[in-house]
């Protein structure tokens, strides 16, 4: 127990960080129940009970952003979820280790590129006039297709860019799961004359099934959570009713319109619904896989 003061001294700054910044901002949530006024500050602004929530529940844009959050996340789940599994199965079958390493290096790269940069690239590649993709399609006599300005096609662009960004990095967890499959299973299957495809289907896929189920549950638990950067950077005025999600709506309401109380209320709503989904998903995971997410 000697010299424990050194340990507490080390903890002083980190704990202050958590208390000031993490808990301090939780305290600020009370403005969702107040009529926030810049001049009076958080403390002195008058209480307004649940009025703010009544106001946001009466806003069309709130319901629109909630619907879009679910819609984009749900479609993302359908489109983006299988991609890393497919890639991992194929990566695992590559026999040339140099080629495999090169493929992994390249496929992981998009994960490390910021959404602002991806947005910049997307606006060049998918542009209706002069965009790379439309030039290529034009050469085949197709288009031009308004990838970024029509709600339907924008949605497809949004989803495809998501696959591009996340599929490679997503393979890591599945590749790790594959390495834990007993190699004797493959040897036995080879003896029985099973083809590569059959081994993939009958051994590898069932071997990683628990991981797949766990990842799926985690994604479902996160269905109300949506990053800010991707919809904000890829969105634009012509697809506003499709690209508006909770995170961008909070920004617009708070920072552009100055409705701090309402924006904080939307944020709080999202946090609480998010927690419900997270704990629900955790209970599901316990039930189906025998272990929770956390």
């Amino acid at each position: 127990m000697r010299l424990n003061w050194q340990l507490y001294m080390l903890l002083a700054l980190p704990l202050s960080f958590f208390i000031i910044f993490r808990y301090g901002s939780m305290y600020g949530v009370i403005i969702a129940f107040k009529e926030y006024n810049i001049f009076q500050g958080v403390m002195k602004s008058p209480w307004s009970g649940l009025d703010t929530f009544r106001q946001i529940f009466a806003m069309d844009n709130f319901w629109n952003s909630l619907k879009n959050t679910f819609l984009l996340n749900f479609l993302d789940l359908i489109v983006s979820f299988p991609a890393p599994i497919l890639l991992a199965l194929n990566l695992n079958e590559l026999r040339l280790s140099l080629f495999k390493r090169f493929a992994q290096t390249v496929l992981y790269l998009p994960h490390f590129i910021s959404w602002v940069i991806i947005g910049g690239i997307v606006y060049q590649v998918f542009a209706t006039n002069n965009g790379f993709l439309n030039e290529m399609l034009g050469a085949l006599g197709i288009g031009p297709i308004p990838f970024l300005t029509n709600p339907g096609t924008w949605l497809i662009t949004y989803l495809l860019v998501g696959v591009w960004q996340s599929a490679g990095w997503g393979t890591i967890i599945y590749l790790a799961a594959i390495t834990s499959i007993n190699p004797e299973l493959y040897e036995a299957a080879a003896m029985d004359g099973a083809t590569r495809i059959r081994r993939m289907w009958n051994i590898t896929l069932p071997g990683i099934a628990p991981t797949i189920i766990l990842m799926l549950i985690i994604k479902v638990g996160d269905i109300v959570q949506i990053g800010f950067d991707r919809p904000y950077v890829l969105g634009n005025a012509s697809v506003g009713d499709t690209s508006r999600v909770l995170s961008t709506f909070v920004y617009q309401l708070g920072m552009t319109s100055g409705q701090f109380s309402m924006a904080a209320a939307v944020g709080l709503f999202q946090s609480v619904v998010g927690l419900v989904f997270l704990f629900g998903a955790n209970a599901l995971a316990r039930r189906w896989t025998g272990r929770g997410i956390f």
Partner: protein, 290 residues
């Protein structure tokens, strides 16, 4: 024999599939790189695909001659280096004591931290806190609110706990304090995990955008992502002029936009191949979030 043929065919199919995947991954970068090195007339006539047409460096000369761009690049470099340093130091300072079972109050402190992994005030209360502390439009607003990532902290605690206590007790027997055993034993043994977490902090800070959009309004303090966002936005407001401060800047040619994108990506592209093993190591240490 038949089986062997099948296997060769399967291997070929898989390779073709992977080559297509690799091409799709890289093509956008190659295209933007080609645009950045081409003349505007070639770009507007749609001649540029994956190779530069009318090769020239004028876009880079113009971008690097733009003081606001250089300022944003430098600002982001200083920000990323300072943030990574502070964040790593603070994460170590928290992880080391919390890795000791005997520490009184350890459990309560862990609960205090874990709660923040599930619930946060949200962006607006965070903005108001940063504003009331007078941090808006300072570099501190992009450092302090995200000083310790609790997920990385948990990874580091797990790593520290795996260090045999016998090693630490031996050094403490010699009369050395906790600080000495941290500096002389724990840290030298933890270099891989420190490198991994440091890299994730650095990449996250370099790529971070949302907090600067909330907290920074002074163009002199724009990190590179915010600056780049402004440039990208420009492509959606064609044929107009945009005011930036007192300066009027004309609509930016595609080659300039592409060169700016390449410059903002360059640090990641340069560092990435060498440090990739740390990235992957990190993702396997635990569930690394973003």
């Amino acid at each position: 024999m038949n089986l062997n043929d099948q296997s060769v065919a399967a291997q070929a199919t898989i390779r073709v599939f992977m080559i297509i995947a690799i091409f799709l991954c890289l093509a956008p970068f190659v295209h933007i790189f080609a645009l950045s090195l081409s003349s505007n007339s070639a770009i507007l006539s749609g001649k540029v695909s994956l190779l530069p047409v009318d090769f020239n460096l004028s876009a880079y000369k113009q971008v690097l001659g733009d003081a606001s761009m250089i300022r944003s690049l430098l600002y982001s470099i200083v920000l990323t280096v300072s943030y990574t340093l502070f964040a790593l130091l603070m994460t170590i300072a928290a992880a080391f004591p919390l890795s000791k079972d005997k520490l009184k109050g350890r459990k309560q402190m862990m609960v205090l931290i874990i709660v923040t992994m599930f619930f946060s005030g949200g962006p607006i209360p965070e903005y108001m806190l940063v504003k009331e502390l007078g941090l808006t439009n300072t570099m501190w607003s992009l450092i302090l609110p995200i000083l310790i990532n609790p997920f990385f902290l948990m990874i580091m605690i797990t790593f520290f706990r795996a260090i045999p206590t016998a090693l630490l007790e031996a050094s403490e027997m010699d009369g050395a304090g906790h600080l000495r055993s941290l500096l002389q034993i724990v840290l030298p043994m933890s270099l891989p995990v420190l490198a991994t977490i440091g890299l994730f902090y650095a990449v996250g800070r370099w790529n971070g955008f949302m907090d600067s959009l909330y907290y920074i309004t002074d163009p002199k303090q724009f990190p590179i992502q915010l600056k780049l966002y402004q440039i990208v936005q420009n492509s959606m407001t064609n044929d107009t002029t945009i005011t930036e401060g007192t300066q009027y800047i004309k609509i930016l040619p595609e080659s300039i936009k592409s060169a700016s994108i390449m410059l903002a990506t360059a640090p990641i592209l340069l560092v990435y191949p060498w440090l990739q093993r740390y990235f992957i190591a990190g993702s396997q240490v635990g569930a690394v979030k973003e």
